[in-house]
């Protein structure tokens, strides 16, 4: 990881005073786990260049890393790329220049716009070149991007994921460094440390005077802070004008999807901005591609409401199983339905289950609320706790099961669990063309999506096999010729007819 700063033209030598680095000496500091070095490569009246680079102790680097139990822990780009880590390593070497302090006689140079060349890298970023340019060009830099070598003898990638930036502009040294201190962390793919309010302070300090005007202001802030809790705390004076999306979940989710730790809920149904591997295509963070047209009520919400309504009308609804409950968004709404006494929210994914537990704890503060019981469960196992319930719900679940595994799951549900009412929803694949989707299915974990005819035929066949009556309907805005976005089947057990 390195940064070369070159000043050309009149007064270039003043750079050394602003940096407070004697051109006669090499700068070499070893701290715990890293070593910072600096040398000049040219020092003439009209051309001065310094290179600053950091080397890490690779063994020390991975100690206590959250990736300690991943095979790739020693194969780590953190050792090489510029990131917020780099910024903090070189903070003390660049301290004087960043603060704009120097000997009195050189003070005028602090505000002098040098003809500067800033070369830094390697850079590991998911931002396409076009976005990288749009980060720096508004700050009056010429941007030159250099790529690493990829000549592999087998087909692996078209372009290297290593980039090196060369910025040219007339800018004061202090401002140039401030730009880098905000934009390098924003460019980088992930953060190395725990983040708190101090990150907002840093943005305020280094972004002073330019960040609020930057056209990509909100993207920079979100990329820098990552977590909604932090983003929400950003003071208004730091936010640019285009901040109407600031608090919407969607843009946050869309932006955070690039990060590795983002958990995709299996319950997300709408086509939405996905993780974008391709760097150049459609990376438009400032224009979220949500079907945000007008639906004030999302399809998710409509589905929950429809299911709640169906359950409210059922004669028997004391005990309910929400099978594949995810983060409990549906389960949590069932606790207010009169007569309901027990809700089992069954889910095999720990992260989702933990979110559900949090959600239930919040909801159970209401009077008379029946808090759902989170249960670790799975379609591929048998669990006698789910037998003979009044209602079982499989909301947007079956499409996550491999089609060839579905029959055994259904046998367990119809044959062993035997709920009085079974409610099932699944996407209507015919509707996908309304979404103008590129992909075949609405979520990358969907193993299949069915037409109305397919779902009806499938439902009827199970119903007749296990003495259930089935009623099929749709949820969401109906479109002539394609039906509703969501299909729903309500199976009612025919008592006494059981085979």
């Amino acid at each position: 990881m390195q940064l070369a700063i070159k000043a050309s033209g009149e007064g270039a030598k003043a750079l050394s005073f602003l940096l407070a680095k004697n051109p006669q000496n090499l700068y070499d500091r070893t701290e715990k786990g890293y070593r910072v070095r600096l040398t000049y490569t040219v020092f003439t009246a009209t051309e001065v260049e310094v290179i600053l680079f950091v080397t890490l102790d690779p063994v020390e680097l991975v100690k206590n890393s959250p990736d300690a139990f991943k095979i790739t822990q020693y194969i780590n780009d953190r050792e090489f790329v510029v990131s917020s880590l780099f910024c903090s390593y070189v903070r003390s070497a660049l301290g004087t220049a960043l603060n704009g302090r120097t000997l009195e006689e050189y003070l005028p140079w602090v505000n002098h716009a040098f003809k500067l060349n800033l070369c830094f890298g390697p850079l590991a970023s998911d931002m396409p070149d076009s976005v990288v340019r749009r980060l720096f060009e508004p700050l009056a830099y010429d941007v030159n991007i250099e790529y690493g070598q990829t000549n592999y003898q087998f087909k692996l990638k078209d372009k290297s994921s290593a980039r090196f930036l060369n910025l040219q502009g007339e800018v004061t040294l202090q401002n140039a460094l401030k730009h880098l201190y905000v934009l390098i962390p924003a460019l980088d793919n992930y953060k190395h440390y725990f983040m708190d309010e101090r990150e907002i302070e840093k943005l305020q300090r280094y972004g002073e005077g330019w960040l609020v005007e930057h056209p990509l202001n909100q993207m920079i802030i979100k990329r820098s802070l990552r977590f909604r809790e932090l983003i929400d705390k950003v003071p208004p004076e730091l936010k640019g004008k285009t901040s109407e999306y600031f608090n919407s979940d969607t843009i946050y989710e869309a932006l955070s999807k690039g990060s590795k730790e983002s958990v995709e809920s299996l319950q997300e149904q709408e086509p939405q901005l996905r993780e974008e591997h391709n760097l150049d295509k459609s990376w438009k963070p400032e224009e979220p591609q949500i079907n945000d047209a007008k639906p004030v009520i999302t399809l998710n919400e409509q589905r929950y409401q429809a299911i709640v309504k169906i359950i409210e009308r059922l004669p028997s609804k004391e005990t309910i199983v929400d099978f594949g409950a995810g983060e409990g968004k549906l389960s949590v709404r069932l606790g207010n339905i009169p007569q309901v006494q027990e809700i089992l929210a069954v889910e095999p994914t720990e992260k989702l289950l933990l979110r559900a537990i949090k959600r239930f704890a919040q909801a159970s503060l209401q009077d008379g609320y029946v808090s759902p019981t989170p249960l670790w469960g799975s379609f591929y196992y048998y669990d006698e706790r789910m037998r003979n319930k009044d209602v079982m719900i499989l909301g947007e679940v079956i499409e996550h099961i491999d089609e060839h595994r579905l029959p055994r799951v259904m046998e367990t549900i119809f044959g062993s669990y035997q709920p009085k009412t079974l409610i099932m929803t699944t996407p209507n694949v015919e509707y996908n063309r309304i979404y103008e989707m590129q992909e075949e299915v609405r979520h990358k974990d969907h193993r299949f999506e069915w037409t109305r005819a397919e779902f009806a035929q499938w439902s009827n066949s199970w119903a007749s096999q296990y003495s259930y009556q089935v009623e099929i309907d749709g949820i969401g805005l109906e479109v002539e010729g394609v039906g509703h976005p969501t299909q729903i089947a309500i199976f009612s057990r025919q008592v006494g007819l059981e085979k």
């Binding site: 040219v42 020092f43 063994v59 050792e79 390697p122 590991a124 692996l156 994921s161 670790w376 799975s378």
Partner: protein
């Protein structure tokens, strides 16, 4: 006339009679004549001494006050001595030993306790009563060192006489009352246990025949029995048959089966134990009111038919014989070889304390098994008695139809439901081999039968509650393996989202450790020497080294045809290919293409026919690396190599400029030249394992273990065998490649192997794996040892330990690694893998197979240094 008195082989014998009757004298004689062992005799006097060091108290010398104290003390000691003696006798009874109690036992209350003790332990209680004239007793008393005195003797005799008449009704199995003359004329002998037989030239245990006489004869033929002139089936080696019962009922030819065993048992050519169907028919033949159901009505019909042909008189005679034969069948039989009672036959089950004993309770248990009430539908709730078996014998049993012989905890179920269309199984002892014949048809056609229920439920989803809070698996090779809740849960999550279907997920390959010690060479982290040293330390002298392919681990389950799969995985499929974490290796289309290709290749080479198998289960490495790991290679290895090269080149460039202009950065330049070199090695290494593939073109599969065929596993074969067999496989399909290997037995072959390793690893190859010759190897303490040790090359390890791992300051630190956890995991996962595959081959339930698989996944979820 002399009288013979037979002492039982086990149980309690009480001597009854007043002091001076000669009880102790008699017992001493019996010990001398070797009828009894000294340790078989206990007496209250002996226990009084044992608990209190006091034998006898002479009260006469003491004052009245003192007498009272002493008497109370004496009472207390007597009571304690009695309790200690009872405890000892109880233990001996439980172990099936004989105990003779030498005391007066004048009162029924004195005797009652022993009758209860004996009955509780399912052994007999016998009384030998010495009824001598009072005069003799008094004469003898007078000659004693410490006479009891006339009064006491008088009193004892009175009590004895008064209670003598009730003795016969107190519950003793035998009561012998002997007067002076009778005692003199009696000879005492010792009976042996009627339930213990000699294993002789060998035994063939036969599962539940249920009237399938034709299949039975077929099996006898397969076992090598020939019919002699008298029509009896004899084995040339003198082997004998042992039926675990239920020879009749449900099937077509019950009478033929009964006749067979009646004759052969009579001729000492066969044994048969009691069973539920046999007992029911015996009671029916005894004229009891029994409802003949569950196929027993077919036996009645056969008798009717018999009567129709043979007439009533002959039939009645025959029925009487059959009744006696069935009633005489013992609940269990124990067979001994070289004096060791090694194998037990019973029908439905037995407890360890019942072995070799008879009682009504035991008979019931052996007939019906361990039942605990009944289900709603009236079926008994079965408990797994075999889980508690600890006493070492092999227990062979039937009753519960299982698709394959169920071997659990030294118990073997050999009822494979021939009458339900399954198989008739024989278990050969001491060879420990199974022989079977297929049923000609499903005779019972009973959809409610356990067999059908088992067939239906075999592929039912496993019960999640038996796993959720952590659980244990009993493995044959490692014993109990416990997995923790948190890791089980995360594995269930994995199975719920990503793996191939549970039914097809039958084996997860175990992890593999490097040698416990890092290389002693300065610039190596791993070297073959330490692996060879490890095995030598474990007393392994012959090793197999196998080239380690650098690709991705893949398990191949390939079926003969789609239909054959139904019996093993519950639905038709040509096969499945999955990764070491159980996920599908390829997408569906690609899987289908490869499986089809392999199926076509193996079929045209007649692989399945030649090996008489429905499937082959292979442990393999699939190449190239980028086939599966393209994303990882691109995002991690290639990316890091690109940034490292870029970073180091750029820095070096700038430093060289600086040097040119006079700055003293020479040492920095040296450092960066070296580091750039390291980055170049790294860049060179990882693409070695990658090449382009087009469809199935370019894909190479290197199988190295043939885990199983449909009738057998191959864990008993050496690694040389596995290498040779996989080499044969490689000839059958272009997709398969063979794995180079060498055998190491001495210094020279070891050096040769090391040279080979140097050569291939310098070329960037991953390295090799050192294995003991046998698949399952144990050291001389009997402990299972590492099934394989990997030795990775110097260059290859760059992609594991990092670009600069060979820099001395890094290498010395990296050598401080600890492999003990990894090794423990390797052993447990190895044992679980074997256990799961064995269960799969025995076509046990999905739940039983899955508990092994899930446990391995859970162990793999535990944090272990992944670089090892």
């Amino acid at each position: 006339m002399s009288q013979q008195i037979a002492l039982p082989h086990a149980g309690i014998v009480l001597l009854v009679g007043p002091s001076n009757s000669g009880k102790t004298t008699l017992l001493n004689q019996l010990v001398e004549r070797e009828v009894l062992l000294r340790s078989e005799i206990v007496s209250s006097d002996q226990f009084r001494v044992l608990v209190s060091d006091m034998d006898y108290i002479d009260l006469k010398k003491h004052s009245k006050d003192e007498q009272e104290v002493l008497y109370a003390k004496y009472q207390q000691i007597s009571q304690s001595a009695f309790e200690a003696m009872s405890a000892l006798i109880n233990t001996r009874c439980a172990l099936g030993k004989l105990t003779v109690v030498d005391a007066t036992h004048l009162w029924p209350e004195d005797r009652k306790n022993y009758i209860i003790l004996a009955s509780k332990n399912h052994v007999s209680a016998m009384a030998i009563v010495l009824d001598l004239p009072e005069k003799i007793l008094l004469d003898r008393d007078a000659q004693r060192e410490l006479p009891r005195g006339r009064n006491r003797i008088n009193q004892q005799v009175r009590n004895f006489k008064n209670n003598l008449h009730s003795l016969k009704t107190e519950g003793f199995s035998t009561v012998n009352i002997l007067n002076e003359r009778q005692l003199e004329q009696s000879t005492f002998i010792r009976l042996s246990n009627p339930l213990v037989k000699e294993a002789g030239a060998g035994l063939d245990f036969i599962g539940d025949i249920h009237g399938c006489y034709d299949e039975f004869l077929e099996l006898l033929d397969k076992l090598g029995y020939n019919q002699n002139e008298e029509g009896l089936y004899v084995h040339p080696e003198g082997r004998k048959l042992v039926s675990v019962g239920d020879i009749l009922g449900r099937g077509p030819k019950s009478i033929a089966c009964i006749k067979f065993f009646q004759e052969h048992v009579e001729q000492d050519l066969a044994y048969m134990v009691d069973s539920n169907h046999g007992w029911k028919i015996a009671r029916w033949l005894s004229g009891r009111k029994v409802e003949l159901t569950h196929g027993d009505e077919k036996v009645a019909a056969e008798f009717e038919h018999y009567e129709h042909n043979q007439g009533k008189e002959a039939t009645d005679r025959f029925k009487e014989q059959v009744k006696n034969f069935l009633l005489a069948a013992p609940s269990n039989l124990v067979f001994s070889k070289n004096g060791v009672e090694g194998i037990v036959a019973t029908h439905a089950g037995i407890r360890d304390t019942y072995i070799g004993k008879q009682s009504n309770t035991i008979s019931d248990f052996c007939r019906y098994g361990d039942t605990d009430g009944v289900h709603e539908d009236g079926k008994p709730i079965r408990k797994d008695w075999f889980a508690e078996h600890q006493s070492g014998e092999i227990i062979v049993w039937g009753h519960d139809p299982n698709h394959q012989p169920l071997v659990v905890n030294n118990t073997i179920n050999i009822d494979q439901g021939v009458v339900f269309g399954g198989r008739l199984t024989a278990y050969r002892y001491p060879k420990k081999a199974f022989v079977w014949v297929e049923a000609h048809k499903d005779y019972a056609e009973d959809p409610e039968s356990l067999w059908h229920k088992w067939k239906k439920e075999r592929f039912s989803p496993p019960n999640i509650q038996s796993f959720l809070s952590g659980y244990s698996v009993n493995t044959e090779d490692y014993g109990e393996i416990r997995v923790k809740e948190e890791y089980v849960k995360s594995s269930i999550e994995e199975v719920s989202h990503y793996t191939v279907p549970i039914e097809e997920l039958v084996y997860i390959p175990p992890t593999m450790s490097p040698a416990p010690e890092p290389s002693s060479l300065q610039d190596y982290l791993e070297h073959p020497k330490e692996a060879f040293d490890y095995y030598r330390d474990q007393n392994v002298t012959k090793m197999v080294v196998e080239k380690k392919h650098m690709g991705s681990r893949a398990i191949f389950l390939l079926f003969k045809d789609e239909e054959s799969a139904v019996n093993y995985v519950g639905s038709p499929t040509l096969g499945t290919i999955y990764t070491r974490t159980g996920r599908p290796f390829f997408d569906q289309a690609m899987t289908r293409m490869i499986v089809r290709q392999l199926n076509a290749d193996l079929t045209s080479a007649k692989y399945f026919a030649k090996h008489k198998t429905d499937f082959v289960l292979l442990d393999a490495e699939a190449l190239p690396w980028n086939l599966k790991a393209k994303e990882l290679i691109s995002a991690q290895y290639a990316h890091v190599s690109e940034v490292a090269l870029m970073d180091r080149r750029k820095i070096l460039e700038k430093l060289e400029q600086a040097q040119e202009k006079g700055w003293d950065v020479g040492s920095w330049i040296e450092e960066f030249k070296l580091k750039l070199g390291n980055a170049k090695v790294f860049r060179e290494v990882f693409p070695k394992y990658c090449w382009d593939t087009q469809g199935i073109e370019g894909i190479k599969i290197a199988p190295f273990h043939i885990l199983a065929h449909s009738e057998q596993t191959f864990f008993d074969q050496s690694h040389i065998w596995h290498m040779e067999e996989t080499r044969e496989l490689a000839k059958l399909s272009d997709l398969f490649i063979e794995t180079e290997f060498k055998v190491v037995t001495d210094e020279a072959s070891e050096q040769e192997a090391i040279r080979w390793w140097q050569e291939i690893t310098e070329d960037g190859h991953e390295g090799f794996v050192v294995k003991p010759e046998t698949y399952i190897a144990r050291n001389n303490k009997g402990r299972i040892i590492q099934p394989a040790i990997k030795v990775r090359g110097r260059k290859y390890l760059h992609i594991i330990y990092g670009i600069d791992y060979l820099q001395p300051e890094n290498l010395t630190r990296l050598k401080n690694r600890n492999v003990s956890r990894k090794q423990r995991h390797a052993l447990m996962e190895f044992a679980l893998g074997i256990e799961g595959v064995k269960r799969f081959v025995r076509t046990e339930s999905v739940a039983r197979i899955h508990e092994c698989v899930l446990a391995t996944l859970a162990l793999e979820a535990e944090p272990v240094d992944p670089r090892l």
